[in-house]
Structure formats: structure tokens, C-alpha cells
């Protein structure tokens, strides 16, 4: 009954279906076809991205586990390790924002605690269409409620995030969720099965018909029938997940578990196959034993359901009772559904009949891999700025306008809806360069940030890719953390189109170059293609989640200006690059030109020097310079510190607007005490780091070159009100 037409309806290509028949030497039955389509879709197989991702740097002295597991793991000393990953849940969130976002958070939490780690922080990167688009407000509200609804109930603080608006997301929003967990180095759990005849255990929620083919949907292009796909969106139950977390950690304290894997995308299919594949074993499952929520579920439905809050565990023999007792204590389903075998096949039984019999290597090793055609994107020519235009601009008006820009304004309306203080260790809250949580009961703290810059990536993917890694690195350094590693969530359009594939390839190259140079390897990640509606793709949006260590949390640096009469320096050279800046795009309405150039030598040198100054206790506050340039950065420091500054533009060749609004990279603003200035200067000169004296901290007001003046209250209002007003309309 299975034929080419049904295969194509499952998202497989004609050639792929032929390959399946050749590998099996027969026609698959419908359940088998479902399994192939789930394992071979883009989301699970990485068939278009694999050959490019393998070039990313993934190793380093502090890397315990790189990509290929449920999440990456890094060493933070004293037997402690941090497990982390970022993942997308874009398509479900567009169809059903609350559940889509909620289950995105649930999924990434499971990826982390599957490895034995207790989650200690959540982050997210969310991107919406133009604020004027009719769907944007409801999507934003739904996504924020969903992220909060899940994370708050789990009792994990959401410590940082990023929100942007751009018309390219009108028909395809992005929701990327990231989780960090803490584990002892010798108690990390992996997904590789080992040993024959070991019991295969199903725990967590019952299996229902929700989310069937969710992974295939994630690999499809949106069209006007998208609303019909609502039933493929999974429904989250954070309460069950909280129980599952506690039960798993309780079982993990002992020595019962050989391997464990959460049932995420493609549910029972991918979890069972991945565990067996990694252990080079076979797996046998009796589907009648799988706890089901609904009546008369077929093998096809059971295998492809994406019901949430479920785990698959391979236990040591004889540990079944210990495990059962723990899951019963937490009121969770527990069922022995199968065993490991030496067949190297997945064999499924239903009503005493064998319903699936597939060699595992055909699903995994033999899955398709494509070297898709891609087009290189040239660096655009610099735009000539009409400097006459500047004359009519009032600098303080421009500053107010930029501070209230949807992509710069305060996102307090969002993060106040996330519990960011539960667990009692959040020492730097959202709205900072990075979020910071202490490692409970120690002096150590972990800083984390999530960044993306679709505008730069769209203008020139190679530069954009490098830029995000650098921005992540700067955000960590700005709070006094030593950057260790990153996770990436690569959100792109249709890989079958040369332009979109080119954006992907070159962004990945850029990420690779920067992370290699900065010794800031990629330890985990996820690729989300087909982010487009009909013919229109999103701007390329890789999100980078960075993690760093602060050895003594008392040395953490914040961005609020601290003391009147302190000196404020700009570290790094300002060339006045305006193309693709907020100033050029939103004030001058010029959208062409190259993004700011990345100089990796300066990036590293400047960053390490700032970290050195922090270690020597010279830095009182710090902030990296990003969107909106120096003036936007210092304005935020003034707002946070309730202080002013008297700014004097250094005697450069460039104009005031270029100096203050240019988005050159590799720069920081730091506040130091007057008495230390000579010592700081000495270090900067010795390290060949360029610096400018920006000005002196004052009681109130920003005064620029003794001419323009604006109060901090006014700036604060500009910064704070846009989102609140937008959401209350």
C-alpha cells in the first residue's frame, strides 16, 4: 500500500524513497515509512548542513563533550561541569505561540537534565515580524506567556535573552530556547546504549496523538494552509516535566542507568534509534507496552507522536524495581517496553506481530547527505553618507529615537514575566550584558548571553557570522567572565535555494573562523531551515549562546555607572562605520552597505586586555558597544547607574555623528577611578590597545561637547516606554 506518492506526502523526495526501497530490498510498510521520514527529514538528519557543520571548532581544554550528544558539556573546575544547548521551536510557535514556545523550553530543559544536570538557568532569543504587522503583538504575547508558563513552573530562572523585530519574520517568527545545567564531572549521563538484553524503560507522560510528524513540519515551508497544522503542535505540561526532572535526578544519583535519552523531535523513533545506533546495538520494543493516553493508537502513531515529557532509559539488569519505585513516587508512568539486542536492527512488535524490521544503519549512517549548491555573497560597497543631512539632526533627538527603537528599547515588559530569581543565585538579572548565576554554595558564577544580528548577517553573511561570536564574547567579558564555549541555533531559509544556502554556508564559516580564533568552541547546537513563508525567507539569523566563568562572583562587573568624577574610556578604535547601523537604517533610512568589519586580532586583544583590567580591580563598570554605538551604550550605563556624563569627542578626523553612532566592533566602555588612570593607561599602551577618553561621570544629564544636553530621566523614559505602550494598545 505504500508508494511513491505517500512517501512524497511524508516529505521525502522521489530519490529518497527509491533509496529506502533499495536499502530494505523491499517496499516499507506505512510505519516503516513514517520512521524513515522522521529520521531522514532535515531536522533529525542534518542532511543539508552536516558537511558544513563538521568544520566548526568543537574541541578545547575545557570541553568535556562537544556536539553529537543531547547537549554540550564544559569543565568549570572543582569537578563541576556545565551542560548547555540552544534549540529552535520556530514553526510550532508561529502556529500556536503559547504551546510552541512552552514546549520549546520544555524540550531544551529535557536535553540538559537527560545528561544528569540540574538546570540552573534559561535564556531565549525571540524574533518577531514588524511591530505594525497584524500578527506581531499576539505572537509576542503568546510566546512570552509560553516561555514564562513553562520555565516559571519548573522553577528555573530565565536570566537573559534577546528580542528583535524585523519584517522578514512576519510570516515565520523565531523562538530559540537555551538552558544551562550543573553536573558533577563524574556523574554525566550519555545516550550511548551498551550491553545485550538490557531493559528499555519508558518513563514520564503517556503517549498521545499530539505532535505527530512535528519534526517533519519543522522541515516544511509555510503556506496559507498553515493553520491546519495546529494538531501537529505539541502540548506542554511543565508540572509533569518538573516531576520528571526530580525523578530522573533521583534515579541518576544511583548506578542504575546505562543510557538515557529524552523523546524530543520524532519521539520514540529517534530516541530508540539514536541510543541503539550509538551503541552499535539493536533494539526490540513491544508497542503494546507503551503507556498510551488515547484508545486504539496504531504503531505508526505511537512511534511518531511527539507527546512531551517522556524519556527512554536503558537500565542495568536487576535495577527495574529501584527505578519503578522512584517513578511511582513521583506519580509518573513507568514501563519496561523492550530490550537491547545484537541484531543491529529496530524491531517493533504490536499485537504479537512484527510490524517494523529495519537495520539501524540504514536509518542513521545511510541517511541522505547533500552538498547543496550555494552562492557566495559579495561584500557590498560602502555607502557614501550625505553629510549635509547630519547638519539638520539634533543629536539628543536622535539618541532618544534610537533608545526607543523596538530593537534597542528596554525589554522589561518581557522579562518581568519570567521568574528570574528562583533558586536564589541570580546575581545579574535580565537587561544586562549577560545574565549571571552563582554555582550554588561556591564563589564561582556562570555568565551567559544569547545574541544574533540578522541585519549584519543579511548584508554579508561571513562578516555577520564572525560578528555574533565576537559579540557573545564581549558580552561575557563585560561582566568579568572568562568566555569558555558557545552553542548555536542556526535559523535560515530554504537550503534548496542557492541564496539561502549561501547565507548558511558563509555564516557558518564566519562563526567557525571567529570561534577558532577566540578559542571559543561550539559544543552544541541545532539547525532550523525552511524558515520562510512561500517564497520569502527570513534574514539569516544564527543565534549564539555564550557561556563564561567568573571565578569569584564578588568580582563580577555590572554596567551601571558607579561614581561621580570617575573617568570613562572607550576601549578599541572607533572608525565611524555607519553602514547597516541603527543610525543609518532608522535615522538616515539607508539600508545598503557592508556591516562593520571584524578584526579578530583586535577583538581578542581588546577583550583579553579588558579582562586583565577587571582582574586587577581597575574596572568599576563596563558595557560592550553594539547597536547604536558609543552614545547608546553610555546612555544605558547612565540610566542604570542614575548618573550623567560630560562627553568630549576626541579630536579625530571623523564627525561627531560618526563617532557617537558608528557601530565599529571590538569596543567596550569602561569606568575607572581617576587615581588608577595612569596604571590603566600603562596596561593599555603595553598591550597595544587603542583607547579614547570619553568623559567624566557626573551627577546627572548627558552633556556632549558642552553643547547638547539631555536628562537621564528623559532618556530612561524613551528607553522604557515603547514596548509597554505597544503592548497595552
Amino acid at each position: 500500500m505504500v508508494n511513491e506518492k505517500i512517501a512524497i506526502e511524508h516529505g521525502l523526495k522521489k530519490e529518497e524513497y527509491k533509496k529506502i526501497c533499495d536499502l530494505l530490498k523491499r517496499t516499507p510498510n506505512i510505519t516503516e515509512l513514517g520512521i524513515f521520514s522522521a529520521m531522514w527529514n532535515e531536522h533529525c538528519s542534518y542532511k543539508s548542513s552536516k558537511i558544513h557543520l563538521k568544520n566548526l571548532p568543537t574541541k578545547g581544554k575545557k570541553i568535556i563533550q562537544g556536539p553529537g550528544e543531547n547537549a554540550g558539556v564544559i569543565d568549570i573546575g572543582d569537578d563541576d561541569a556545565i551542560v548547555f544547548k540552544i534549540e529552535s521551536h520556530n514553526h510550532p510557535s508561529f502556529i500556536e505561540p503559547y504551546q510552541g514556545a512552552a514546549t520549546g523550553v520544555g524540550g531544551i530543559l529535557r536535553d540538559v537534565f537527560t545528561m544528569g544536570a540540574r538546570p540552573i538557568a534559561n535564556l531565549n532569543s525571540i524574533h518577531f515580524g514588524s511591530p505594525q504587522h497584524k500578527k506581531t503583538k499576539n505572537l509576542l504575547r503568546g510566546v512570552v506567556h509560553g516561555i514564562g508558563g513553562y520555565g516559571n513552573c519548573m522553577g528555573i530562572p530565565t536570566i537573559a535573552g534577546q528580542t528583535s523585530f524585523d519584517e522578514s519574520y512576519n510570516g515565520n517568527i523565531l523562538v530559540n530556547a537555551m538552558t544551562l545545567g550543573l553536573v558533577k564531572k563524574n556523574k554525566i549521563f550519555y545516550s550511548k546504549a551498551s550491553g545485550l538484553n538490557k531493559p528499555v524503560i519508558y518513563v514520564g507522560s503517556k503517549t498521545g496523538r499530539d505532535g505527530i510528524h512535528g519534526a517533519s513540519m519543522a522541515s516544511a515551508i509555510f503556506d496559507e494552509k498553515i493553520e491546519e497544522k495546529k494538531p501537529t503542535v505539541q502540548v506542554g505540561d511543565p508540572f509533569t516535566e518538573k516531576l520528571l526532572l526530580e525523578a530522573c535526578l533521583e534515579l541518576m544519583a544511583g548506578d542504575s542507568i546505562i543510557a538515557i535519552q529524552d523523546m524530543g523531535a520524532a519521539g520514540l523513533t529517534s530516541s530508540s534509534i539514536e541510543m541503539a545506533s550509538k551503541g552499535k546495538l539493536g533494539i526490540e520494543i513491544n508497542l503494546n507496552k507503551v503507556p498510551c493516553r488515547e484508545l486504539n493508537m496504531t504503531p505508526y502513531e505511537i512511534m511518531l507522536s511527539e507527546s512531551q515529557e517522556r524519556m527512554l532509559i536503558i537500565l542495568e539488569n536487576g535495577k527495574e524495581d529501584i527505578a519503578k519505585k522512584i517513578f511511582e513516587k513521583w506519580n509518573l508512568d513507568f514501563a519496561i517496553i523492550g530490550k537491547t539486542t545484537n541484531s543491529k536492527k529496530i524491531e517493533l512488535y504490536f499485537n504479537k506481530e512484527k510490524v517494523v524490521d529495519i537495520p539501524i544503519d540504514t536509518l542513521v549512517e545511510n541517511s541522505p547527505m547533500y552538498d547543496r549548491k550555494w552562492k557566495q555573497i559579495k561584500l557590498p560597497k560602502k555607502n557614501k553618507k550625505d553629510k549635509e543631512k547630519f547638519k539638520n539632526l539634533k543629536i539628543t533627538n536622535v539618541l532618544n529615537k534610537i533608545l526607543s527603537n523596538p530593537n534597542i528599547c528596554s525589554k522589561e515588559w518581557i522579562w518581568q514575566q519570567y521568574d528570574h530569581t528562583v533558586m536564589g543565585d541570580t546575581i545579574l538579572k535580565p537587561g544586562s550584558d549577560s545574565g549571571v548565576v552563582r554555582i550554588h554554595g561556591t564563589n564561582k558564577a556562570i555568565a551567559s548571553t544569547v545574541d544574533s544580528s540578522a541585519i549584519y548577517c543579511y548584508a554579508h553573511p561571513l562578516t555577520g557570522g564572525k560578528q555574533i561570536v565576537c559579540e557573545s564574547w564581549r558580552n561575557l567579558i563585560s561582566v568579568g567572565a572568562e568566555p569558555i564555549a558557545i552553542t548555536n541555533c542556526l535559523n535560515f531559509g530554504n537550503p534548496e535555494k542557492e541564496d539561502n544556502m549561501g547565507e548558511f554556508v558563509e555564516c557558518v564559516q564566519g562563526i567557525g573562523q571567529a570561534s577558532k580564533y577566540l578559542n571559543f568552541p561550539v559544543v552544541s547546537g541545532n539547525v532550523s531551515f525552511y524558515n520562510q513563508t512561500k517564497d520569502k525567507g527570513i534574514k539569516p539569523t544564527p543565534s549564539i549562546g555564550g557561556v563564561g566563568l567568573i571565578k569569584d562572583y564578588k568580582k563580577m562587573i555590572t554596567m551601571d555607572l558607579k561614581k561621580v568624577d570617575n573617568i570613562v574610556l572607550v576601549i578599541g578604535k572607533t572608525e565611524g562605520h555607519l553602514d547597516q547601523s541603527i543610525f543609518a537604517r532608522d535615522i538616515l533610512n539607508q539600508k545598503k552597505g557592508p556591516p562593520p568589519e571584524i578584526n579578530l586580532f583586535n577583538e581578542k586583544n581588546n577583550g583579553e586586555t579588558v579582562l586583565n583590567l577587571i582582574k586587577k580591580n581597575y574596572v568599576k563598570s563596563a558595557h560592550d558597544i553594539s547597536l547604536g554605538g558609543i552614545i547608546t551604550g553610555i546612555a544605558k550605563m547612565c540610566i542604570k547607574g542614575k548618573k550623567g556624563i560630560n562627553i568630549k569627542k576626541p579630536n579625530y578626523l571623523i564627525k561627531q555623528f560618526e563617532y557617537l553612532f558608528g557601530e565599529d566592533q571590538g569596543r567596550y566602555i569602561v569606568e575607572i577611578e581617576k587615581d588608577n588612570f595612569d596604571k590603566v593607561k600603562e596596561i593599555l599602551i603595553k598591550s597595544s590597545v587603542h583607547y579614547d577618553e570619553l568623559g567624566i561621570v557626573t551627577e546627572k544629564d548627558i552633556i556632549i561637547d558642552n553643547k547638547s544636553k539631555v536628562t537621564i530621566d528623559e532618556l530612561k523614559a524613551s528607553n522604557k516606554t515603547w514596548l509597554i505602550e505597544y503592548m497595552s494598545k
Binding site: 516559571n152 508540572f239 514575566q417 521568574d419 530569581t421 528562583v422 541570580t426 562572583y553
Partner: protein, 227 residues
């Protein structure tokens, strides 16, 4: 000083409370909701979180947990029982405290620092605290305190209002009411003042590196008063 923190399925501030109680000198035990006996305690705490997922109604299912009979007996015989956030919701569901916590006015979860004015110091929870207001942290979706007019009259007649959302100086107005609570109520007592329910989380404010330290004032004072 012995204390007990009850863990319900879905509690998520139980550990934070344990940390806080121990920091200020309590010998604390964690008690599972399915237990029947309460350990010998000078103070019992129902912690924050989402007991039973907040399904049905916040605190409704937890109020029927096995351990609750012992907790209710303990409180009725004069034992000190404190419910924070979800714990406060459980206390109203058990009817140990009057009223109910409705969904926040703007129908959104709120997580932020607030000031609360101490309304009554003639009890072991707030006696000897010199500050008029405390800066504490709230994190809830259902903190909008509500009760009938008769209940309010009784609450006021017996001086049962413990904490009121206020500004830094103790002024009570709608601008500092984060969730729409009737009369800005952030916490109430039973008539005997041995049972306290409040929405703010003092356990999140016990360290200068955190949001603030006014929680330390509360716990230090509590341990001294219960001695």
C-alpha cells in the same frame, strides 16, 4: 529551633527556603507531601512553586495532601505556620486563612522587587523589626488578594493584615500595587497571628549579591522571636 518545609509535587522554592532557614540558624527538615507525621517543629513552612501544576486552582490540590492534616492540627494547636506565595494560596484553600488569591490584574506573571509596609508588629513574625517597610521580591501569577466584605471586616477587626504593598516610605497607593490586591494586601495572619501567608519571597533576599537583604532581617528576627 526546628523547622520543616513541606515539599509538594511541583514545589520549586522548597530548596531556597531550606537554604534560608539554615542560614539563619534553623535546623530544617524537608517533609514529603505524602508523609503523615510532621517532625517536631517550631516552624512549618509551605514553600512557593506550582504545587500540582496549579491545576484546578492554585493550592487546591495541595491543601488535600496527606501531610496537610498534621499541618492543620499543628497550626490549630498554636504552632507557627508560614505560607509563601503558593504556600499562601494553599493556606487560603485549607481555610486556615480567609480570602483567596486571584489572577493578577494584568493577567501576567510578575517578577520584581517590591516594598511592603509592615502593618502589624505585635506578633512573632514582625515583632522587633525596626524598619517600617521591607524590600522583598515577588514572583507570581495569582497574587491578587480578594475576600468578601464580611471577611474584610473581620480581618480588620482582628488586625490580621500583615503586609501591604507600599512605596519605599510606606505610603500605600495604587501605583505600588503590583497585582490588584484588595487594599494592597500582600500578607495576612489568622486571628491568633501564629499563621502567616504572604506573596513576597523573603528567602530570595538573603544575600547582598542577590536582589537585596531585607529577607535576612525577616529571618534573623523570626529565629530570635521563636527562641
Amino acid at each position: 529551633m526546628n523547622s520543616s518545609v513541606i515539599t509538594f509535587p511541583g514545589s520549586n522554592c522548597d530548596r531556597d527556603m531550606d537554604v534560608a532557614l539554615k542560614k539563619f540558624g534553623f535546623k530544617n527538615k524537608m517533609v514529603w507531601h505524602n508523609d503523615i507525621e510532621l517532625p517536631k517543629s517550631d516552624l512549618v513552612v509551605l514553600p512557593g512553586g506550582f504545587s500540582y501544576g496549579d491545576y484546578l486552582r492554585c493550592g487546591a490540590m495541595a491543601s488535600k495532601s496527606k501531610i496537610m492534616q498534621s499541618v492543620i492540627n499543628f497550626a490549630k494547636s498554636g504552632g507557627f505556620l508560614m505560607g509563601i506565595c503558593n504556600g499562601f494560596q494553599i493556606l487560603t484553600e485549607t481555610k486556615l486563612l480567609p480570602g483567596i488569591l486571584l489572577r493578577n490584574k494584568h493577567a501576567e506573571f510578575i517578577c520584581k522587587n517590591v516594598f511592603v509596609k509592615i502593618n502589624n508588629t505585635e506578633n512573632n513574625y514582625f515583632k522587633n523589626i525596626k524598619k517600617k517597610t521591607l524590600e522583598l521580591h515577588i514572583a507570581h501569577n495569582e497574587g491578587n488578594y480578594f475576600c468578601s466584605n464580611e471577611q474584610m471586616k473581620e480581618i480588620e477587626d482582628h488586625n490580621q493584615i500583615a503586609l501591604l504593598y507600599s512605596d519605599e516610605n510606606g505610603e500605600i497607593n495604587q501605583n505600588c500595587n503590583p497585582n490588584g490586591a484588595t487594599k494592597n494586601i500582600a500578607g495576612i495572619f489568622n486571628k491568633k497571628k501564629n499563621i502567616l501567608g504572604m506573596m513576597p519571597h523573603p528567602e530570595r533576599m538573603i544575600d547582598s549579591a542577590l536582589s537585596g537583604e531585607d529577607g535576612s532581617i525577616f529571618f534573623k528576627n523570626l529565629v530570635n522571636n521563636l527562641k
